[in-house]
């Protein structure tokens, strides 16, 4: 849900259901890196309720687009992390079996 102004699209608050610090902190981090963002933060209105409010203020671009780009960046970062990790594990496994073969 987006809470904002109809006239000024660059500032709005997004209320996300079924989310918590896990996702909100990561997306806040990626948004902060974006040079279009002047302010970005998140809050949890009540800990018993599974809801997060993400506030985004930009230098002119619609906040919705910037948030989408932030989520997209986070997705690409995760994919990169996953591929790098898998490669590192494979390298470790092959190097270990290589050592075993050398010893034997």
């Amino acid at each position: 849900m987006e809470h904002g102004s109809y006239t000024d699209l660059s500032k709005s608050t997004f209320s996300l259901m079924d989310e918590d610090h896990t996702f909100a902190n990561s997306v806040r981090f990626t948004l902060n890196q974006d040079p279009r963002v002047t302010f970005c933060g998140y809050s949890i209105p009540h800990p018993s309720e599974n809801r997060v409010n993400v506030r985004v203020q930009t230098t002119g671009d619609p906040a919705c687009e910037v948030l989408k780009d932030g989520c997209q960046d986070l997705m690409l970062m995760c994919q990169h992390v996953r591929s790098t990790f898998e490669k590192a594990v494979n390298d470790f496994k092959t190097s270990k079996t290589g050592d075993h073969m050398d010893i034997v």
Binding site: H21, T22, F23, F29, Q33, T38, M77, C78, R82
Partner: protein, 420 residues
Amino acid sequence: MSESDDSMSEIDAQEQNHSNGVGGGIPDYIMNLDNIPAKLPTHLELHKTRVICNIDAPQHTDPINYSGAYAALGVDNSVRLDNFCQNFKVEVKRFTDEDIEFDMIGIDPAIANAFRRILIAEVPTMAIERVYIANNTSLIQDEVLAHRLGLIPINADPKLFEYPDNAGGENNEKNTIVFKLHVHCVKGQPRITVKSDALKWLPNGSELIADDTKPNAESKPKTFTSFRDNHDSKKKFAKNPPAPKNLDIILAKLGPGQEIELEAHAVKGIGKTHAKWSPVATAWYRMLPEVVLMEDVVDEMAEELVSKCPAKVFDIEDIGEGRRRARVVNARACTLCRECIREKESEDGADKKEKESEDGADKAIVIKKKEWEDLISLRRVKDHFIFTIESTGAISPDVLFTEAVKILEDKCERVITELS
């Protein structure tokens, strides 16, 4: 620390000049150069990339990642995705069936914490949820026994199963694993310890009759699960039947004449609902410690330093002429106990008095004994995380991490579709 003095005077200039100390405005020929990387002064770079751990509290703990943080200095703090992809590295240090220790370099604590939270609470596993107790004459109460059964890690791949339909849907082979436990301690026998290896997998589903109505001769009696006789599912479990991961977990103890007969149904769930579904014993990360000796520590001080550190971070090296110097040899092992920079009050007073009497006799200049805190700088590298994942055994730890990253990607996708 002469470097920082130079940089202090250059802060007034918009950009950091590398060799010529140009004061005041920046010359045109520099302004007209292309792609000058504006760098932060050394001490700000230190504050940005290192947490300095003093004896009382750590300093500069906040990762400054706002893109306009250093705008006044003309330094661009935004990190583009390709920069991240270039600088990001993973190094696996230790990898066994049960745990993995790897380094992630170039990532932010927000994302590392997200992975840790997902590993603990949101990666699904199988665990016993429903226990149908037919007979329990042991000393362990029904609910306590059921609780203990729930906590047993089950060696079954949760990807092969679906979440149970909590609206009272069917319990079929797609979402339930059925175990049976029937132990009887006969009178005259010694006491029996019921261990988790007594749980037997029932590939055909539940055997306890659910309905009270007398079944017809032809139809099968209705049980608590509706398994279809599916040969495919039996094939995929042929090599690796679902069973408890550890076969020596003590569930109950039976005396003579006591009996336990029950059926346990395992379903898929996540750690958020109940900790029994958490796939990791635990998962944690720490930042890479960095120990820097600001000055040379020689001879007796070096010996003292090496003996003070319980993690064996320092070691002695000989620098000739019988003199010894302390060297940082294993900064990674530092647990930040701060023993090396701690000053014991009584020792300090005694040392100072000793020095004064010596100097009075020799008429030498009194040198104030250096505080340990000035000699050693304990730091943490802000973007280098040492991740350790200890799995309960059901899923291999590298698969666990990959699953956790996938779950974060799914969250992003869900939000993107919600926004569009």
